[in-house]
Amino acid sequence: MLLCFRNLMLTLAALSCWQTCQRLAATSSMFLVVFAAALTDTRAVHVLLGVYALVGVWWLMCAYWGRLEGHLPARSRRSVPVRAVVVTVFLLLLAAAAGMSSLAGGTTTTALAGWIPSSGGTGQHDPFARAGVGDGDMLVRAQEQAESVGAVDSDLFLTSKMPSLYDMLNETFGEADNCKKHHPTEKAIGLSSDEKVLELGHEPTRSEDAGREFTTVRRRTDRRRRNLEHRLSDAVLFVAGRTPLHLRQEVFDHFDGITWSRTPALNNPLPLRMQQVGDQHWVNTLSPPDRPIFHGREVHTIKITSLATNRIPAPAHLTRASIDRVDRLDMYRRAEADIVRLDRTTIPRFTVIHLESHLPDPVRLRDVALRPLVAGPSCSVVNSLGELRSDPQGESPTLEVPSTQAQSRVRQLAESWVADVPPGWTQVEAIVSRLRTEYEFDPDARATGATDDVVGEFLFETRRGPSYLFASAAAVMLRSLGYPTRMVNGFYADPARYNSRARHTPVFADDAHFWPEVHLGRRTWVAVEPTPGYELLAPPRSWSEKMSTVLSALVIWLWAHRLALVLIACNGVAAILTRRLWLGILALGAWRLAMCVRPASALASWTVWLIERRARLAGRARPSGRTLSGWYLASAQSASPEAAQALRQLLQLGQRMFYAPHSGRKQVPESELTIVETCRAVARHWTVRRLRTCLGSA
C-alpha cells in the first residue's frame, strides 16, 4: 500500500511539469515523509527529515516567488526560473531514487513493487532465515529432519545426526590413531601421575565425560567429502556479536608427548549464583574481574543448531550467561572451573544463549607482573608455587612437559627464542609470534606417529601442521620456560564467515579449533593464538585508534616504497611539466602520418587540425564561437611575414575545404604541390611556442 503510494508520488513528480501534478506530488511526498518519520526513530530518518524540510522550504519559496517578490525590496531584477528549478529538483530526486534502487541491486519486480502484484518476495535472500520465499535453504534443510521436531524434553531421538564435539574433532582432524595409543611411554607417564590413580576410583564416566582426551597423532580425513556434504548444511552454532571469537568446550592440562588429557579438578569449584535483571535470569559464573588486564564487557549471543553437547560454548572470562525462561539455578552446573554446562544430556537445538564475558587487553597484559615459575626437573609436576599457593581454590597450573628425548631441544629452542626478551608476558608473545610467523598452518598435515614426541617433530622437522600441533608446541614451549599453560579446544567463530544480512557468524564443524591458555594467577587463564590465520578478539578500537592505525600503516607502506614513489612522483611531475611537449609530438606524429597516407585534398584540414591541437596545448585554444580566421589571423600580425603568409594561405585553403559547396571544393585553385608546401610551412612556423606568444599578444 505504502509502496503503491510512493510510486504514485514518484510518477506525479515525474509529471511535475503540470502544475497540478507538481502540487499533488509535493503533498503526497510530505505525507509519506511524515508517515515514515512517525514509524521510526532512527537518527538517519531525522536527518533525512531535516533535509526534506529544507528542500520543501526551497520549493515553497520557488513556487511562490512571484508573490514573495512583491514584498521583498526590489534588489535584483533577475527572475528565478521557478518551473525549471522545481522540475530540476524533482528530476534530481527521481534520478537519486532510481540510482539508489539500481544500486541496491533491485530487480524490475522490486522496483515496481506496489504496481504489479508479485509473489517474488522482496528479492532478498538469506540462507539462515526461518521463512519466506527463497529463504532459509540451510535451516529448512535442517528442520526437515524428522528427529528435529517434537517439543518433548529430549527432542532428539537416539539416532540423532547431531554430532558431538568428539565426532566433530574426529571429522575435522581425523580419527585418533589407535596403534599409538598403547605407546609404552604414554602409559608409563599416564599411570605415574597421582591424579590418574584417583581418577580410577571415580564412577564410570558418563557419555559426556567420555573421551576427555585428545591424541595428536591422527589419521587423515577425506577433506573433499567434508567440504561438500557437511559444510553448508550444518552450521554447528551461530554467534551474534563481535568476532573472531574463541568458544571454549574442553580443557586439557596433561600432555604425555602424544595425547592431551584432562586431570579432574580436585578443588571444589565456585558455586554459581542466579541473578534476575528485568525479565532475564542470569547465572553468574565469575565475580566481575578486579584485575586491570581487562578491557571491558563483551556481549555475545549464540544459538546451537547442531551440536550434541551440554557444555555452553562460551568465550573465556565468562561472567554470566542467560537462557530465556531458564530461571532455575540447578539447571546449570560447572563442567570445569570456568566452563558451564546444562544439567541435561544436550543443549536443545535452537537454544539461544546470551553470554557476557570480559576481554583481556593485550596491551595491558604486558604490564602484568608475570614471573616464570622455576621448573623442576624436566618431567616433574610443579603445581604449587609462590602466589599460586595463596589461591587454594584455583586450578592447579602445571609446568609438566613430556619427558621425551626431544624435550631438551624444545626447551633450548624456546630459550633461544626469548633470549633477549625480558621475562613476563612479552616472552609469551615472543614465542607465539615466532610460531605464527615461522611455521606454516596446514590443516591436512598429520604427525607421522613415528616418534613419541609430536611437538619435537613439528618444531624441528615438518614445521607445518593443524591447529592442535601449534597449540601443543606453544604449550610445551611455554611450560618449559616456566609459564603454566594448558590446552583448550572448542570453536573459532571466523569473521570471514560473517553474514552481514543476518548479522551473525555461523560456526561449522570445520571451525573446531585448539589453542593454549596461559595462567596469570588467581584462576585467570588468558588465551593466546599461535596458529597463523587465527586471531584473538581484540578490544574494540576508537575512531582515533583506527585512524592512527590506518595512517601508520600508510606511512609504513609509503616508507617501504619510498624509492618507487619518489621515482613515480618525479616522472609524474616531469610528465606533467612537459606534457605539452609530448602531446605536441604526438599531434605532429599523427599529422605526419596523415601527410603520408591521406590525399592532398585532405591535407589542409589535417594541418588545421594540427594548428588547433597546438593552440590548445599552448593554452590558447580557439573558443568554439570564434572562427578560424578570426582567432588565428589576428595573431599572425605579430609573426614573421612568411609565417603569416603561410597561415593565411592555409586558412584560405581550409575555408574552401570546409565551407564551399561540394561542387566548389573540387576547384581548389592551388596545385597539390603548393598545398603540401603551405601545409609544411605552417607546421614548421607555427609551433606551440609561437602560437602561445602570438595568441597571447593578440
Binding site: 584540414s605 588547433e612 568554439s624 564561437g625 570564434r626 578560424l628 580566421s629 565551407y659 564551399a660 559547396p661
Partner: protein
C-alpha cells in the same frame, strides 16, 4: 546637386560580366567611398554589403561624424538620383511621398513626386519625424512602392534608404518601433576616426578645393541591380546554413534579448553575409562573413539598449560553435 560624370565601366549587352569584372566595379565603388570617409574602411565594407544585399541602412551616431558625407558619397557613387529629407516633427507623409496638385490649366490632378522617388534617399535624423511620417517611409522601404490616393507607384529597383539618427537626443524624438526597425538591413556606427585619418582630413581640407575631384558615379543603377543579383547567388554550404540558423535561434534564447531574430531578419542576415563574401571576392560564404556582419544586422533588430548590443552579439556568437570540419553526409 549631382555630378553627372560617365559611369566608369559598363559591360556590353552580350556576355554577362565575369566575377573579375564585377570585382573591379566593386573595387572602384569601395575606393570612392573610402575617399569620402577617411580611415573607416570597415564601415565602408559594411555599407557596401548592406547596399549589395538590398537592405536599407540606419546609421546611428553623434553629429559631425560623417553620416551625411557617407550617404552623399554613396548616392553619387551609385549614380542615379539622390534625395535628402531632413526629418522634423512637422514633416508630413506627403512631404516624403509626394502629392497630387490640381492643374488649373489642364483641369486635372498632377502628381508631384516627393523625395522618395529617387535611387538613394537620405533621411536625416529619422527619429525626429512623427510616427505617421515614419510609417509612410517604411512602406516605401519594404514594398519599394508608394500609394497615394489609391494609386500605387513603383520606386526604382535599387531604391536605397540611408537613415540617420542621433542617439544623444532625447527631447522631441520618436524612437523607431522594433517592428519597423526590422525594415532596415543594418544599423551601423561610424565612430571617431583615428589620429592619422584626422590629420589627413585636416590637410586635405586646407588645400585649394578641386571641384572636379569629388566622388564620381562609378556605376549605373541597372549595374547595381546586376551586382545585387549576383550576390543573391553566392552559395552557402549546409554546415554554414545550419550555423546561421543556430545563431538565429540563439538570439531568441538569449536572456537579455527582448525580441529574437525574426525569419525576415534571418533572411536579411544570410543576404548580407552573401554580400560580404562577394565583397571579399569569394564564391562561398564562411562563418567569418556571418560573424562580421552580425553586429550590424542584429544591432537593428534585437532591441534593448544599444550600449549592450555589442556584448550581447558577442555572447550570442560565442554560444554557437563554429562548424569547422565538414560533416559526413
Amino acid at each position: 546637386m549631382m555630378l553627372s560624370s560617365e559611369p566608369r565601366i559598363v559591360a556590353g549587352n552580350g556576355a554577362p560580366p565575369t566575377l573579375g569584372e564585377s570585382l573591379d566595379i566593386v573595387q572602384s565603388l569601395r575606393a570612392a567611398l573610402n575617399g569620402a570617409l577617411r580611415g573607416k574602411s570597415e564601415v565602408v565594407e559594411q555599407v557596401l554589403a548592406c547596399l549589395l544585399a538590398r537592405g536599407h541602412l540606419l546609421i546611428e551616431d553623434l553629429p559631425g561624424l560623417g553620416k551625411t558625407t557617407l550617404a552623399k558619397a554613396l548616392a553619387r557613387a551609385v549614380g542615379g538620383k539622390f534625395a535628402r529629407v531632413q526629418c522634423t516633427p512637422d514633416l508630413l507623409p506627403s512631404d516624403i511621398t509626394g502629392f497630387n496638385v490640381f492643374d488649373q490649366k489642364a483641369r486635372e490632378f498632377h502628381f508631384v513626386e516627393g523625395p522618395v522617388f529617387s535611387h538613394v534617399l537620405l533621411a536625416d535624423e529619422i527619429n525626429r519625424a512623427t510616427p505617421r511620417t515614419q510609417s509612410a517611409l517604411f512602406e516605401s522601404m519594404s514594398e519599394r512602392q508608394v500609394t497615394i490616393d489609391n494609386v500605387s507607384r513603383r520606386l526604382p529597383e535599387t531604391f536605397f534608404v540611408i537613415a540617420t539618427q542621433n542617439p544623444a537626443e532625447s527631447h522631441g524624438v520618436y524612437p523607431l518601433p522594433e517592428a519597423q526597425l526590422d525594415r532596415f538591413g543594418m544599423k551601423l556606427h561610424i565612430g571617431y576616426p583615428d589620429r592619422a585619418s584626422e590629420l589627413e582630413m585636416l590637410a586635405a581640407d586646407a588645400t585649394p578645393r578641386d571641384h572636379s575631384n569629388g566622388p564620381v558615379a562609378v556605376l549605373q543603377p541597372d549595374e547595381l541591380v546586376r551586382l545585387q543579383d549576383e550576390v543573391a547567388q553566392v552559395p552557402l554550404s549546409g554546415d554554414v546554413r545550419e550555423y546561421l540558423v543556430d545563431l538565429g535561434r540563439a538570439t531568441r534564447e538569449h536572456r537579455d534579448v527582448p525580441l529574437g531574430l525574426s525569419p525576415r531578419g534571418l533572411l536579411t542576415w544570410q543576404r548580407v553575409s552573401q554580400a560580404r563574401a562577394y565583397l571579399q571576392g569569394r564564391d562561398f560564404v564562411t562563418p567569418d562573413d556571418i560573424q562580421d556582419v552580425a553586429t550590424g544586422v542584429l544591432g537593428v533588430r534585437l532591441g534593448g539598449e544599444s550600449e549592450a548590443a555589442g556584448r550581447i552579439v558577442r555572447e550570442i556568437l560565442d554560444s554557437v560553435a563554429v562548424p569547422i570540419y565538414p560533416k559526413k553526409r
